[in-house]
Amino acid sequence: MISFENLILITLLSPLLVCLLTPLLSSKPILRDILGPLGGIISSWGAIQLMASILNGEQPRLELLQIAEGISISFVVTPLGAIFGLVASVLWIFAAIYSVGYMRGNKEKNQTRFYIFYAMAVHAALCIAYAGDLLTLFIFYEVLTFSTYPLVTHKQNEMAQKAGRLYMSILVGTSVILLLPAIIWVWVVTGSLEMSQNGVLDGKMNPDYAPYLLAMFVFGIGKAALMPIHKWLPAAMVAPTPVSALLHAVAVVKAGVFTMLLILTNVFGIDFLSKTGASNWLVWLASFTLLTTSIIAIYKDDIKARLAYSTISQLSYITLGGALASSMATQGATLHIITHAAGKITLFFVAGAIYVGAKMSKISELNGHGKSMPLIFLAFFVGSLSIIGVPPMGGSWSKFFLMLGAAESGYITVIAVFCISTILNAYYLMEIPARAFFFKKEREVKIKIPILITIPTLITCFLTILLFFFIEPFENLTSIMVSKL
């Protein structure tokens, strides 16, 4: 039996080890490329064990190092963190296999550097998932931003430079100007950087100031991509597709909404929020972002740009779920982290497959190509259904809970928002398989999709279906999360 401390270490350090070993193996590409999936498997094993321990009612924790009195780097596995950690590590396995296929198929330069920072970003995401206090959370939030910068600017051309600038200025700017003082404000008010399952602010914070503190958090967490600080996400799409798939559909943005949920539940606390109504304004902001970005997505012809706006809209579901401040909605928001991740990574995998295989990146070019890449478009179709929330795909559960939550907290309009957005989702996502399968082909293209791209795409597509049938352990976790201590 491995102690919990070691288990946390194994889960966190295996991506870091991959990151450190990769440069040593740069002359042996095959060994180097095996490292990523291998690290993913070890890390996921640890994440599963940690999740099981939470289900058994335990709380693994690890104090890594004390920086100064009252400041330390520590890790605690919470139900929410266990879910995010599992999502990030499991999907990393498939994304790592996929990126080998993509980078080779596309003959990208500087592959070693790419894998180094890729693993580094996963490491940072896992550290965020298991962060035991606010400062650890903040530290790895920044590490994640900085480790993804070389990936976003991978092409090292002028467009990448511009995108990189926007990416850094929004993410670093918001986190330093707003998130950091918000964290320190909590530190000053409560006297420690710790979080707790039912929030730490109740009785210590003047409720009149709570909405302002919340606003500092909400706009400080740029990775959650709420309007008007969402621009970095479409800009980051200049990165190679494996980056967009794992990082900008899963690790980075989910780290954002994860942080948001953690702040809403473990710092403010659902009861404190619903009692004071501090998050009422956030409900409307998230609803607005949700609808507006869905509409913008319709007008994007670039596949990745459309998926990026769709991601922003889906992230708002999660923030909205947290802001509704009811236990049902929080459960729905947490489940949405899993289901959306599986669905969206599939969609991005498909976008990359089409780019590598047929050198196409525009939706209007896809007409009639469904028959030449049937599996890929089938995967896209299934992934889309999950995002839209049609049974039997995983996405239906989270939407169901979110709607129940909206009803529970009495926001009837929000239910309407969910319905309208579902229609919009269907509209802009279904266009892609529809064009591929039902439209007439305009020109012949030679298509060659590497097997290392097809397999992970089909696996993640299959995962979205599996999630429908095996949602129970995750649902149990979320009910532990919202239970009172």
Binding site: I67, E69, E142, G164, S169, V176, L180, P181, W185
Partner: protein, 497 residues
């Protein structure tokens, strides 16, 4: 033997570089003069570590110079406050001396090198003396020793770029004005209190509340020191002096010179005078606070528009000094501690950045501007790596020393009900990311105009690596800096606050 050394440590730490500077000037051999300089800075560093241990035991060490008992004789005081800048100065002095071994022969004529090292030691001795002395007039003497030596060092840059003469002249005139103001202040205080010993002074000023001569004297002293510390708007000598001085000299000056003056500022504000006094409260909140905030933004904005990298870093120093004086201006125990923490960390950060930039300029044999940084990151990976780490440290990103400074500074200002100050600090540090990022982008993303092959020199990058390592180390284990700053602040501001 060891007993005598321990007993006389407060004077030895000053004498060691001071005496050596007189010897070095006589030695014509380049290597030998460097070696002696290196040895004496190293010994001074060891002495300061020993002193630190002594202070942990005895808390305050008073040393009567020539056995003339204070307050009549000159007293050297080493306590938990003054040990802090001593460690900064000796540590940086030691590291920059290693760094200078390759830089000096490149920029200075063979015949002048031993003179430069003599001045170099004189400047270090002056700075250490400034911090150790407990006598207001002796302080003036050391202030002038270090300033004049620094001016001469800056002027040495003229062998490469004639602009250095203008810079040195500016520095000399403005510095002399500052020193004169200070000595007028000391004169006025001496006139009404009849003492020059600072501890004695602090007891006597208590009875003289609202005395006009006292207020005037205080004003002269503070303004004089603020000139030396380059507090906005008295900073105009600084960018030129740092930019045109020989490489190693700019590293030494940037990391240490203003720190010593800032320490004196804190000592006068909190130790000679009393924080509870209206005079101090008004000075802090109506003069130093607004000036610091302006400095934070003015320095950063000037740095954003600057193309010459050494000047850019110098402007950034003005902003960073703003953070430190701002911390003093808030005037609580936590904030003064934060000021001291940043003083230490900023010495490490700026020292490292200047080292990185001057070594780049050594490799490419040109002044470093934004445009000729293009693509150099790939040609000199070690220097680039250190530069990135220390830039992140300056910007205050986690796991670096700079983050610890920011953290305590923000916490202190929020605790003192100054959320708006906290936001302003963070806003200006976010602005500083702009100029740092410009440099990193140029080094990393832009293509070099022509292929450059550079072989990095170990004697140059070893000290850069050490100081970069310290930047990370003090970000991960800040207890030394935080604890000693807190003790220093406790001593200065008093336990009550």
């Amino acid at each position: 033997m060891t007993d005598i050394v321990i007993k006389n440590l407060p004077i030895l730490v000053v004498l060691c570089p001071l005496m050596m500077s007189l010897i070095v000037v006589l030695i014509p051999n380049i290597f030998l003069s460097w070696l002696l300089t290196f040895a004496s800075t190293f010994v001074a560093f060891i002495f300061s570590i020993l002193l630190y241990q002594e202070v942990q035991i005895h808390s305050t060490i008073s040393y009567a110079l020539g056995n003339w008992a204070p307050p009549l004789g000159i007293e050297y005081v080493i306590d938990k406050v003054s040990i802090f800048p001593i460690i900064i100065i000796t540590l940086i002095g030691f590291l920059t001396t290693i760094f200078s071994s390759k830089m000096m022969p490149d920029e200075i004529n063979e015949t002048s090198i031993s003179k430069v090292y003599s001045l170099w030691l004189l400047a270090i001795a002056g700075l250490i003396g400034l911090v150790t002395t407990g006598d207001a007039f002796n302080l003036f003497v050391f202030l002038e020793i270090s300033s004049l030596a620094s001016v001469a060092l800056v002027a040495m840059g003229a062998q490469k770029d004639k602009q250095a003469l203008v810079a040195a002249y500016n520095y000399l005139i403005i510095g002399a004005v500052g020193a004169t103001l200070y000595v007028i202040g000391v004169g006025l205080l001496y006139g009404i209190t009849g003492t020059l010993n600072m501890a004695d002074l602090s007891e006597r000023v208590v009875d003289l509340k609202n005395n006009k001569a006292l207020i005037a004297g205080f004003g002269f002293m503070i303004v004089g020191i603020m000139v030396k510390a380059a507090v906005f708007p008295m900073h105009i000598w600084l960018p030129r002096a740092y930019a045109y001085a020989p490489s190693a000299v700019s590293v030494l000056l940037a990391a240490t010179a203003t720190k010593a003056s800032l320490y004196i500022l804190a000592r006068i504000l909190f130790s000679v005078f009393d924080i509870g006094d209206n005079l101090i409260i008004n000075t802090l909140s109506y003069i130093i606070l607004p000036l610091s905030i302006i400095a934070m933004f003015a320095g950063t904005i000037m740095a954003v528009y600057e193309k010459d990298i050494k000047r850019l870093l110098a402007h950034s120093s003005v902003a960073q000094i703003g953070y430190i004086t701002l911390a003093f201006a808030i005037g609580t125990k936590a904030s003064v501690a934060a000021g001291f923490i940043h003083m230490f960390n900023h010495a490490l950060i700026k020292g490292a950045l200047f080292m990185a930039i001057t070594s780049i300029s050594f490799y490419i044999q040109k002044r470093v501007t934004l445009s000729n940084l293009s693509g150099l990151g790939r040609a000199m990976p070690i220097t680039f790596f250190c530069f990135v780490i220390c830039s992140l440290s300056l910007a205050g990103l986690p796991l670096t020393a700079g983050f610890i400074s920011k953290l305590y500074l923000i916490k202190a200002s929020i605790s003192a009900d100054g959320l708006w100050i906290a936001i302003l600090i963070l806003f200006s540090s976010a602005l500083s990311v702009i100029y740092l990022w410009k440099m990193i982008e140029a080094l990393w993303l832009q293509q070099p105009r022509k292929e450059i092959i550079i072989k990095e020199n170990p004697t140059i990058y070893i000290s850069l690596l050490i100081i970069t390592f310290l930047n990370i180390y003090f970000g991960l284990d800040a207890s030394f800096v935080v604890d000693s700053s807190t003790e220093a602040a406790e001593k200065l501001v008093g336990v009550s606050k």
